[in-house]
Amino acid sequence: MSGYLESQLIILCLSIIYAYGIFLPAASGQLNLGAAGFITLGAYASGWFNLSDGLGVSMPLSVVMAMLFTGAISFAIAFPILRTRGVYMVLATFAFAEVVSGLTINMEFLGAAAGMPVDDHAAVEIVVIAAIGVTLFSFYFMSTRLGLALRSIHDDESVSVLFGVNVRLAKVAAFTVGGMLMGLGGAMYGHHYNYIEAQAFNVLLSIYILLYVLLGGTQTAWGPLVGAIFFTVVPELIRNLAIEIGSDWLADSRFIFFGAFIVLMMVIRPEGVVTRTMQDRVASALAGRRKDTGETE
């Protein structure tokens, strides 16, 4: 695999992991704009646990510990943050990410503004396996009764309560598990590039990840996958097209087209690219075709 494709594949895999971390709470209607904060926590935690000057544990262990660490922080902040709703939750999670960023950049033992080198290297294969694992886990998670409860909360919280759903517990669980996934994503980032700096995880990253999820669709587990692939691949395709036809102008202004496309998608499919109805129609069409071929054989 060429270096270019490999680097794009890594970005895609990391985006998918991050997107599922934001998706799980978003499935119950919680908008989390703090992705960068959770990714920072995971990256620095795993890096420091792995570092010979830190705890010096092996990489697999440091990654698991980083997930637990990020999960614990997510759990702790879930209680105050989940008291807020809608745009206020967006602001609260954004503030959390800023706090994490500000703290990290001022901690000398984490390298402060100069960043931190990470010892052990995670090869491409490991990052790909992590992304596949996170995707499969998220499909499983959404198919459970807890997943059903989260989708019910998204539609009508007060009715969910009357049918016995512990809304607070379900939301905290989704937020915490989402935080753990982003911790894993951050750890993968650190171990793949072997260098982390807090400035790399900025608010733009948080915005992008939330956009992946919202444009992909929050109703099914396909949404974040489609959103992440779309956001990673399409700008690159436009860039390659620009190189192909030799247009510097297109290469420079590709994000104008991309931005216009996002606005268009929001108008055409306000509930996301993949909706529940669309998934069912595709599934029944596939099942129908399978039956047809079965009969002709």
């Binding site: 059903l148 539609d155 009508d156 049918f163 129609r281």
Partner: protein, 263 residues
């Protein structure tokens, strides 16, 4: 086991200075089909909201099958055997029929093992099978591949009843189940409710359609301005002057008022 599945004693609810429910007491006999009727704004839906814990009561007590439930959190009351439908359809629009019904099972499946059970991945499992059977028994298809938002109104109304039933309630609260249904749909609903009643579930229904109430119910409680004004059989309701006055106004005062205006 007491004869009553529900005892409401002296409940009161104020919204600010407004007494919405004023010292209402009523019992619902086990196995009965009781109707709660009254003019618009009488407080019928508020009674349901107080029973299910949407609002706390200010005074009085609610005893469900021998257990005081007025201090129990809303999300836990359904476990003690009471579930409801809603005046305006409150199905989850983005879920399929089966998923909506499976939400009704939630109160019976709150252990960690059940919460993490992959309902959606296994095409055959006991919860899904039970939901399909419940729909089938109610004469509704499972409409695979459709979110409920796309289904006809009458079907959605009945799905709400099925969703409430799969929580296995002792007392089923129905808030205007026949509102907006045509004659055929109303008859289908009535058949479903009679079947439910025969299976031993007690029904408490808020309804405006008096024809429906006469056909279905054996006991009627009438509310007006948050107070209970009458309790008896459906036949007696039509004879009672207080009820007629609540609905139609006083008959003899009307001409008298007109003549006094004229003079």
């Amino acid at each position: 086991m007491s004869d009553n599945v529900l005892n409401i004693t002296g409940i009161q609810k104020n919204f600010g200075g407004l007494k919405v429910i004023d010292d209402v007491s009523m019992d619902v006999r086990r196995g009965s089909r009781t109707a709660l009727i009254g003019p618009n704004g009488a407080g019928k839906t508020t009674v349901f909201n107080l029973l299910t814990g949407v609002y706390p009561i200010d005074q009085g007590s609610i005893v469900l099958d021998g257990m005081e439930i007025s201090q129990i959190p809303s999300q836990d009351r359904v476990i003690h055997g009471m579930s409801r439908s809603f005046q305006n359809i409150r199905l989850m629009p983005h879920l399929s029929t089966i998923e909506n019904v499976m939400l009704g099972q939630h109160a019976r499946a709150r252990s960690l093992g059940n919460l993490m059970f992959p309902l959606g991945m296994l095409s055959k499992n006991k919860w899904r099978q039970e939901a399909e059977d419940a729909l089938h028994n109610a004469g509704i298809g499972s409409y695979p591949g459709e979110v409920v938002a796309n289904l006809p109104y009458g079907v959605q109304k009945r799905i709400e009843v099925v969703r409430a039933l799969v929580s296995r309630p002792k007392l089923l609260l129905l808030d205007e189940p026949a509102a907006g249904l045509n004659e055929v749909e109303t008859r289908q609903l009535q058949e479903l409710l009679e079947q439910v009643s025969q299976s031993g579930v007690t029904i408490l229904v808020v309804e405006h359609d008096m024809h429906f109430v006469r056909n279905l119910c054996d006991h009627v409680v009438v509310l007006n301005f948050g107070q209970k004004i009458f309790e008896g059989t459906p036949e007696e309701v039509h004879q009672n002057p207080a009820v007629l006055e609540a609905y139609l106004g006083r008959e003899d005062s009307q001409p008298a008022k007109e003549t006094s205006d004229a003079s």
